[in-house]
Amino acid sequence: MTAMNPQLPYRSFGSMSQSESKSPAQVMADRRVVVEGLTVHYRTVRALQDVSLAIQPGRLTGIIGPNGAGKSTLLKAMLGLVPVIEGTITYDDRPLTEQLERVAYVPQRSQIDWTYPATVWDVVMMGRVRKSGWFRRFSTVSRKVAMAALDRVGMADYRDRPIGQLSGGQQQRVFLARALAEEADIFCLDEPLTGIDQKTETVIFDILRELANADKTVIVVNHDLGEAITHFDDLVLLNRELIAYGDRQSVLHPENMHKGYGGMVNFFSTMAA
């Protein structure tokens, strides 16, 4: 499987191929999330066309692009949440959708019904459902893991609050705690930075950096191109197809940005690069 990598039509910009040789363990199993020829249609509308890339563990990867570029669709298609017309997504040389227990997914906040009768604790414990197994109650270990996750995002005092009474940033941190409680290898976050406060943004990037340092794979759909973008190591620039993929500086090259955003972007390249 590793032999095919050079032939893949990645539009990579340097950095991605070097880190591979670092650890001998990585040579045996491909710990990258490898997307090959991914095409997604919504009924008759083309959402993604022939996207191929390989996302590295140990780095913060951001997915950027204009509205309707298919950013969330790429994330969802990787996890099998939307029907894939063509293409494969593999991890450890096996289809990713067969090992979803290794994935923690944080949906967009707008996809959630916040009037649902659940407390912060109920939501974080959902991260332990899969680990607990069918027909079983949550174990003491699960409770400890969930409590630690809640503590890590600074929401331990809120555990008995109904989720509808939280601010947007607090809701996002609860979902991050749920993802942490899943003890996954791959973390996928769909627009976690939308409508949140500065404190939450700091907490989120602190934690994501920790995860990356622990050699986890971290993939974040990011809507705006503000200062937050400087936190990412690698970027995927989409506009229904892959425009550019690689380390941040190379992707944020004005030529790519012009291609991706059609010249409409008002971008502070100095700040981000």
């Binding site: 009924r43 969802k76 996890l79 099998g80 949440l81 979803l100 227990e101 994935v103 923690a104 997914y105 944080v106 949906p107 996809q111 959630i112 019904d113 649902y116 009768p117 659940a118 407390t119 109920d122 939501v123 414990m125 959902m126 459902v129 899969r130 607990s132 069918w134 027909f135 949550f138 109904p162 749920r178 899943e182 996928c188």
Partner: protein, 300 residues
Amino acid sequence: MFQLLLEPLQYDFMQRSLVVAVLVGILCAVVGSYLMVQRLALLGDAISHSVMPGLALAFALEANIFIGAFIAGVISTLLIALIHTRSPIKEDTAMGIVFSAFFALGITLITTIQKDNKVDLNHFLFGNILGVSWEDVITTVVIAAIVVVIIVLLFKELQFYTFDPLGAQAAGLPVNLLNFGLMILIALTIVASLKVVGVILVLALLVTPGATAYLLVKRLHQMMILGAAISVVSSVSGMYLSYYFNLPSGPAVVLVSAGFFTLAFLFSPQHGLLTHPQRSRAGSPLLREIKSLLRARRSP
């Protein structure tokens, strides 16, 4: 007072109908909570109307009417799912089409077989709890036991799925199976409830107690337990009211539970209309708009 409570119990039919009413009350409150949190109240209505042709055919073929109704209910949910996944028609429209068609078919069939079989259309529409047999009681006990055991065993998975279907799918839960299982539970519950309130009023038992509890507590299992308690009290007091004042039993039960909802709506500590008067201004934007329209007409 005590005598007042005991008097109806000397009758066999009252004992049977009270047992069935209590069981159905618990079942509907628990299963109905899932309908409510998924915003699928209309689906409860759709399935209950759709069981009519199953009831009619089972009657004509002298088969078990519970089984006939259950099969019709499941077929209707599958049809609704088929229409809304395989065409651009939205789910609520698909429900409207399927349930009205099934209901019409049911009415047609029942009117046709009515002459030979001595069945009463009204019993299907509004229930006939005073006519339940011990056999019906046993069927209800079995259905209630199955549904409650499944919900207890799958509580955490169903909670995850109903709260965040995408998240549950991304965690690798078999969400389509869970969804189908939930539909089966709903169909079973409706079938068990038909004797008590009939096709038209089942929805009230499914959503009203759960909604009442939702205004008072904050977690799903609390909502189910409190909803079941409210439902049991409504069923029993509805039955007594119906006995002493000669009211139709199904509607009496539904009215009592609507009364409880009204109390919670007005006085709930967190959400009550009267305990939180600032929220009662919700109507004022409408008034403001009307006033501004009137003003605009006066000064052209």
